[in-house]
């Protein structure tokens, strides 16, 4: 009974604060309600026994990405427009609801054909993730670090301000 109640709390607050984030005219309020969304998604991960991913979700999404958004928002301080929504609102809502309905229908009607894993009870999940990252997924791991390096270079090149030398 308790896990169901916790699921409804986390899932409901996730969806509601996501709606607030998309619909709020104030960008700061949008970012803050997205923070609530991320923290409750971490709660859903804990319900799914993915504690490591929950911690990483809070550290990276709520700690790093949201702070980046808030920095940019406060740097620009964009004025609150009266017409902040595009005129294609009905089309967008129709499209989103149809998409969501079709996916939920597919989720309830289909059955899983995938192979079940065999978890080793002597190894903790975090240890299993670490071993899997450094053995089976070592090449994607290195590619991810390379992607982060390229993103860092690109960010410095795009957003940095270079002072030109006067006498060359």
């Amino acid at each position: 009974m308790i896990p169901q109640l916790l699921f409804f709390y986390f899932g409901g607050v996730t969806v509601l604060s996501a709606i607030v984030a998309v619909a709020s005219p104030n960008l700061i309020y949008s970012a803050l309600s997205l923070l609530i969304t991320f923290i409750h998604i971490a709660g859903l991960y804990i319900l799914l026994h993915a504690e490591f991913i929950a911690a990483v979700q809070i550290i990276i999404y709520a700690g790093a990405i949201l702070v980046l958004y808030l920095f940019v928002l406060m740097l620009f301080n964009p004025k609150q427009e009266s017409r902040y929504l595009h005129r294609q609102v009905p089309v967008a809502i129709f499209l989103g609801l149809v998409l969501c309905g079709m996916m939920i229908l597919a989720a309830f009607r289909s059955e899983i054909l995938g192979q079940r894993g065999t978890p080793d009870p002597s190894v903790s999940p975090v240890q299993a993730i670490g071993v899997s990252l450094y053995t089976d997924y070592i090449f994607p791991f290195e590619m991810a670090s390379f992607i982060l390096l390229v993103a860092m270079f690109g960010t410095i090149l795009l957003a940095g301000r270079f002072v030109q030398r006067r006498n060359e």
Partner: protein, 133 residues
């Protein structure tokens, strides 16, 4: 025991909200923020299936998605800052630098790029026609 489909429903609702946000909002920062919602819905789906199948692979893939999301946010916000410095717009409807004869502009851009790399006689330095277009 919570069935798998409930978690999937939460993920799909988040996906729909993210898609609606991308289509509806006019500020480019909000469009990037809605893309975060879409990525999170993918993460919820992966973790739910990893729990249902008792596999660790889903969690590893979510780890990579988190890495990619961090890189995407950093690059996207840097692009927004560069765009705001160049043209002082944040509205997606007013960002139309490549609109119109887009192919011609792309061709001219590559012409500029190549003449800058390999300068030769008789080709103007900019590669652009004198009167503009």
């Amino acid at each position: 025991m919570i069935p798998l489909e409930w978690y999937l429903t939460v993920g799909f609702l988040l996906f729909a909200i993210g898609v609606i946000g991308v289509l509806v909002r006019r500020s480019i920062i909000m469009v990037l923020l809605s893309i975060e919602l879409i990525l999170n819905s993918a993460n919820i789906t992966f973790i739910a299936y990893a729990h249902a199948l008792q596999s660790i692979t889903g969690q590893v893939i979510v780890f990579f998605i988190l890495t990619m999301a961090a890189a995407e946010v950093a690059l996207g916000l840097a692009l927004v800052i560069a765009l705001f410095r160049a043209r002082a717009v944040l509205n997606v409807d007013e960002i139309n630098l490549l609109r119109g004869c887009a192919l011609l502009k792309i061709a001219l851009f590559w012409g500029y790029f190549l003449t800058a790399l390999f300068p030769c006689e008789g080709v103007s330095r900019s590669g652009l026609p004198a009167g503009g277009f």
